[in-house]
Symmetry: D3
Subunit: 284 residues, 6 copies
């Protein structure tokens, strides 16, 4: 069973609204290599696990638990990027009747039609999340190889999305997730190392220069790329795998650690022009 404390796994850096950035960040939420995919893939792989080598199951479950918090972080980031993006609408008190061009021309229009300027389970092109993306074939090696590809592609895509806006809210979340994806890449690469592979200098994939992503640096300095947070309230054998020398070029030792101190969930203001939450006039 699953328990919750209302805290975000990372900070939401304040900045201006940026609906075009919100559109592309959806890839990281609802895309084929986004956080909903990692969350559901490790959920299925851990529930479907066969055999006695439960240290692998605990590794999968451990990463799965963090991914739920990642989904929440990206949802919240998108909400911040959209918040205040379409103020001058007729339903608002301003009443200037100016149409919201941004939503029509450069944003995902569904952010303004379906969501009340909030996150959706879709990718950067507006395609809905799809269950066929989940890979859970039950062969531990092919599952782990697929997980390595998934985490590598996660970093690769995030470094590319990163370049699409200089918005601080956007880049802070991407920077954090790039480093965490690296930790998870290390986790699954290490699992295959346990099974006999020597990765040489292959990882991290892609071979990005940390100096070009300043938001990543502080997390690397904190050792987040070699750390696995432990969200279990009972025992876990994750440490039997996630330990020792990092399988990547960057070096360092893998360690299981407590989750980061949590960050507050920002409160989204009411948005009367979106009829959200729409309770204001209930007393009329």
């Amino acid at each position: 069973m699953y328990y919750y404390k209302e805290e975000l796994i990372n900070i939401i850096e304040p900045d201006q609204p940026d609906p075009a950035a919100a559109k592309v960040l959806q890839e990281t939420l609802g895309g084929q290599f986004g956080e909903m995919r990692t969350m559901m893939q490790y959920f299925f792989q851990s529930s479907n696990f066969r055999g006695k080598e439960k240290q692998f199951r605990d590794l999968l479950r451990g990463v799965f638990l963090e991914e739920i918090a990642h989904v929440e972080l990206v949802q919240t980031t998108i909400n911040q990027l959209l918040n205040g993006a379409g103020e001058s609408m007729p339903g608002s008190s301003g009443m200037d009747n100016a149409p919201i061009d941004e939503a029509v021309k450069h944003a995902n229009p569904h952010h303004f039609i379906m969501g009340a300027q909030s996150a959706l389970p879709v990718d950067a092109g507006g395609n809905p999340w799809n269950g066929s993306w989940v890979y859970s074939h039950g062969n531990l090696i092919s599952d782990m190889l697929n997980n390595v590809v998934l985490e590598s592609t996660g970093v690769l895509q995030k470094t590319r999305i990163y370049e699409m806006s200089s918005n601080k809210t956007f880049r802070e979340t991407l920077g954090f997730l790039i480093v965490r994806d690296n930790a998870h890449q290390n986790a699954f690469a290490k699992a295959l190392e346990v099974l006999g592979v020597n990765w040489g200098k292959l990882f991290p994939v892609p071979n990005y220069d940390i100096n070009k992503y300043p938001e990543c640096r502080k997390y690397v300095d904190m050792g987040y790329h070699n750390m696995q947070f432990n969200f279990r309230l009972d025992n876990t054998r994750i440490g039997e795998i996630f330990q020792g020398q990092s399988p990547s070029r960057n070096g360092g030792d893998l360690t299981v650690a407590q989750p980061p101190m949590g960050f507050p969930v920002p409160q989204l203001p009411e948005m009367p022009n979106e009829h959200s939450p729409g309770l204001v006039d209930m007393s009329r």
Copy 2:
């Protein structure tokens, strides 16, 4: 952030394999009105919540947390229904070479091709779970009305799926979930009652006769239809809504309670003919 203890929210009643039952039970996992939908819908609605009336947000989050455990319960039930369903395969030690007719003719063939006889994020027809099903429009009333429809349809479908096999593993899980869906139906109906609706004798929907579903009775006797389990490690305002007289004909008072005592997660045996987990011969 999300925490976990490795315990199932209900018991897995042992019985024979039944791959045809596993096929239709997928509706309850990956169908349009299944547990993955409820889980993701309440996740998005709570993350996207606007305004100060956070008792509604806490209600949404509270149900969301239980739905994660429901997903795990249905995954595990499907795995039990499939377990041992295709023993006599050439890759097995038995070596009798008999093809597995069941998988081809009456089961979901993907259970034997993609999964190693295990759960998939698809519905009873094999269609993958789809993000467009998530309803999170940010208007609290339309969101709550949609949630009522979702939980009502959940019960309706489960009473129909229930009739497709007399397998005990299958019916025990369905019986438990029917009663829990009723509790969640009560939760969202009550939220609308708080906003002024009087439901009369409408609920529960559908109007099922508890005497015809013996597996449900014990959970009703335990009061599970009027109870909301609390999985928060911090404070929650859920009790401001989930309290007082039940909005359904059945009566009784709504109460927030501790989660049920957990049940052990069954260990799935290795299945060499599926090459799962496929580690047996690594030492060769």
Copy 3:
């Protein structure tokens, strides 16, 4: 605007339930070349029509109007094939608790889970109807050529589906629709003849032997293959195209005629085990 009289365009021939036949007949309702496709394709083509040659628009609209009635006919046929197919279910008064094997093994399980044993907007494989199938490119020639392919494929598929059950309800509806598809094939082939094509002996496509489909014969004898029913309450120029010698080998003259005398819509009984309509016990 659209008006309605509650009458079916053809008779529902009574016979036993046959859920496997219902499954495959869905192709004719919600498949890529089924009646929902023809209905929506001609709807879009007529609404999107450009230019002054409105006799073509009236032809499209005329066929569109009949297709709405075809959709209703196939829905009703599927409902009859499913009706009574799963009687012995626990929710029923019989209470023998026998699971409904047929629904699980040879039928479309969604007919018993989503529908209360009734029609769905899906094809024979359970794939939902999809808007991308509609061809409305606005070039009259390519639109008409596509319509000829659509109607030809409609006949071709129906002659193949026909062979999947000898059920009378099933074959009567298919026989009627095969002949009507031929009439519509003639309509669009004639429109292209007006634009200069001489079809030689190409039509009808496929080149089926009417003697092998006894249900078709009476409709051919009534001249239904050369007739276009007129559902307009105002004037129409359809007769400027649909007239003169048939463009197919079979010969005969094309004529615009009054719609057939309507047939009663069968009343579907309540089905308590499906909780449909579920009002019986509202007074409790």
Copy 4:
């Protein structure tokens, strides 16, 4: 069977082309909560109806019939918004060879590639209409609750789309449909009232201020929000439900009325640069 008179259910207010507005208005045509969905959902619900309480079936059919006219109205509105949007193309007589930037950058490119600048069965994001959206579970209460959600969401989305352009063609159609959706919301809310629900002050959902949508006012003044048009050529029992006090805060009495006087269907000009209809040079 279905009959037709070539008249639109509302006026097409003339204004400039606005392809970006056409793109987002597609949500109202081919979106998950658009007019194609309402049309097909009520079609299936009425054809699949079980039992003797046919006043509910007549209510469903009555709304279905109007929805066909709504689909035609939105198709025609989109066509007007697109008409003349891409004049200066090489195939045109103008021959200035300027590329049509608008289609590439701010419009739905399929409007210019598939349609000859005309409507498509897709939503604002370009996703095709999908049959899985149709809810027809055969339990009258869950069906009616779903219909209430569908109509509420219809209004909610239309008030949001309304803000995306100040184009008069666009806003007039949206204003009319907002008021008609309210009438249909009243219809299904009333059906549930008949079954015992007291809605209090919940409706209309969303709680929009009519003064902020000037296009709606004239229709409210005409009483369109409490009226159900009758498109039946035979008897209907719709009035057994659609009568008496409105279930919404706005008050007033529900009445069944004759359809509005029809409006002419605008003729779309030929568009040689789109090769539509493409007959001009047939005589060469």
Copy 5:
């Protein structure tokens, strides 16, 4: 079995990057009427061919073989249009940190997230290529009619896409393909002529004026519209059909010819900011 020589079937005309043009050109690659569709449709039709009249099979296979080269040509054209479109990114040596607006606002963002600024199997709206588009019903007449529609729609769409940018790389490829689609239209129209149809003045569809598409003229002058290239290393009976008078108004004789002299495949430069190919620093 299939053999290859690394040569393009047409020249890649150099010009500036144009990511908006790349977005819409995707329709020609991965759209419902694009080159991937024609390639796969003729592949399935030729492999599934029944009966002894193998001259039709050889015609299908002959066109299939050319379509593989067309897919490669469009992939390469899209790559050229994207190449250099997002230079100033943080991962690049330039390091000016300017976000790439173009990708977010007017391009397909997946070109910059999934592809390393390269082609994807999707259409102009970003929808992935779909197998359900392939028409292979095994009736030779309906298959050939569908192929005529497919090639006609191919030309129609390409003349419309042509107008969306004046980029030379873009228009050269479109011009070549318009003429080749005409040749294939002739191929399938001729096959139906063999079966008895006289097309009159119907073709080419659409009835485009060659003088308005200057890029097409040189290919028409070379006779490419009446030529079928032969990619078989063994004998083929294609010439039994593809011969004699063209079935289109334009006249001329159909001839089977050697493939065109090949053109070099441009080398795509490394793109460090996309981490592509990402090998540069492997030696670190």
Copy 6:
């Protein structure tokens, strides 16, 4: 450009019709890890290749070329499994009117409705092939890792599908493809070895026992698991990678070889009851 000789890459072993086997073998053709996926993935990766290390591009292209022949082999195998499966149909000369139960109950009904008992671009569950499966991210390492997963999953699925029928036509094709997938697994594993990875004893994945798949043995004896066929008519640098010690436990040296001697393509008989090819009576 692409050239062809009409020869299959492997033999079609004769046996009885087996439509249930044809249904599941579709996974190998149109499934997420089937031959259409490998063919299109390597096609896109080679066309989108960046940089000067063209030995990798030649490797990708080399495998791509063989995959086209694999698609043709599986299409042909499915056609043989279906051929003769529905003889006693009304349209046939036999005229016994027995419905074809098999098609309805245990087969893919689309094989009998869309195909004339022939292959479709769908998977074992009837889901159409989808372009979003193609992975071509342009980072050579992540692309190669994905290819390793793809080939490993290909073998894994084929060993599972193998067990679903003992039909010889079915198992011969699967046996051949299992060994060829292993060769391609070796190709991409070797490419990563070149980049520094040491795989230890990880491959082949899955770790299957060759003695349990007798159809594979003769191909292993011929060295097919360590061979890459060369379909280039010009030079290729594939041998710079595909050489030296196999990266898998099985050992042996990798060699580039001539394609196998081709096998004849079986001629499919006419099937009058499917109206295929439907030309028989054209002369009437």
